[in-house]
Symmetry: C2
Subunit: 233 residues, 2 copies
DNA sequence: TGCCGATTTTGATCTGCGTCAAATGAATCG
DNA sequence: CGATTCATTTGACGCAGATCAAAATCGGCA
């Protein structure tokens, strides 16, 4: 793999737990790979043979039923970690929502390296704990929030996640951003249909909380009111 | 704390990662505590000051909205780990569903010990990854499954979890068991109302997939059909 | 610039589950 | 052992969001 020291996510990915010489060893185990929008990196139910760091782009983690219903169970951004180290088949598919670059490892190679590097495992544990907290917050959304609360929550969540990984790095969130998801995918994250998502967006627009310059863009015009709605107060 | 070597969950809890002399040190940091049914160990939003292992009993992890809606985001059984090590406030409450015994540590003491014991952190990482997989499967349930599919899934899940922690230890699941949840709590796990849960149970009973000897007992009479329903095929 | 296919929005209608209310059953206690 | 209380079930009805259908809008490309 090319130079890790120059990697744009060097300081945010789990690699930040490593010293330069350790990083050099790890870099030999992985390789940089391009993933095109729509391409699936890991299939639900397959043995998880690879893990990866996201360098650029956005990917979804999704679960499907036999009859074709889909639920997106996670969205990963640059510097996030993908995959299931230490055994087990993957319980979800990983698919690129935008063109992406990932830094990919075979699970066997990564596991072996991780065993020898407690600091890396510590970083991974913290990340996994954070991810679990996020998943649980989302369970509240899916189990108990109304459609408008769900859509408001998603917009704020994306605003926050995109902000913290934006090039500027300074803003905690962005008031204007491009959605990495289309309407169908927003429905799949929120447990709603495409029509309901569309209707709720129109309502938020009419209530002057947001505007929608084009189908992929969102401008948050009244963050405060959007937050009140999202919190389900 | 009393003798860890004799602990009933010694071989299943994260402590199994430790050697006898390490265990002796850890045991000095914690203490055994009784928690009565209904008692809350950790409050949502509070700084997470304790972590614990469950020795006996069942506890729920729950999230609430300002206006009183509740979602149960996890149910923990004997040998499971509770809490959020390494900083952060707790994003959920922990409350006993039955009388319970836990082996409790201050977070500071546990964090310090864990830092020195990579094997413990490794165990904790695996457990957290498993928990995350379970949470994501539950997101599919909450986002996309119908009421009857949800109830079927819950019954099978409890059957499995209770089986693997039962005294016999041999069975992968139990066909007869006591529910640790009442109807309201089942609704709170499933994102349904108490009435819907009750109606679906009646339907499953009428379809001869289960029987309900009393309000807390369930007998699975046709696991195969129940599984088909749960899988949403 | 104007056409074509895909995405999104909007409209009309339906339905699964929620809400409200009452009846039944099971546990506790004097 | 009957009275009280709480949990659960059952019934009637309403509504948020799903479904089905059509119109509008956007993006790409010749």
């Amino acid at each position: 793999m090319s130079d890790c020291e120059a990697c744009v996510v060097r300081n945010r990915a789990i690699c930040s737990a490593l010293l330069p010489d350790e990083l050099a060893i790890l870099s030999k185990l992985g390789r940089k790979q391009h993933v095109s929008r729509g391409q699936t990196l890991v299939w639900e139910g397959d043995e998880a043979l690879v893990v990866a760091n996201v360098i650029s782009g956005v990917l979804k983690l999704s679960v499907s039923t036999a009859d074709g219903r889909e639920q997106i169970v996670g969205v990963v951004f640059p510097s996030d970690f993908i995959g299931r180290p230490f055994g087990k088949e993957s319980s979800y598919s990983v698919t690129a929502l935008t063109d992406a670059h990932v830094c990919i490892f075979t699970r066997a190679a990564f596991d072996g390296f991780a065993k020898e590097h407690p600091d890396l495992q510590h970083k991974l544990l913290q990340r996994t704990l954070d991810e679990l907290d996020r998943a649980r917050q989302w369970m509240m959304l899916l189990g108990r929030k109304t459609a408008s609360e769900r859509v408001a929550t998603l917009l704020l969540e994306i605003s926050n996640r995109m902000g913290s990984t934006s090039c500027t790095q300074i803003l905690p969130f962005l008031d204007e951003f491009e959605l990495p998801l289309d309407r169908q995918q927003m429905g799949d994250v929120l447990g709603l249909t495409i029509e309901t998502v569309s209707r709720q967006l129109t309502k938020l627009k009419e209530a002057n909380m947001i505007s929608l310059p084009d189908r992929r863009s969102v401008v948050i015009k009244d963050r405060h009111r959007l937050q009140d709605l999202a919190l389900a107060a």
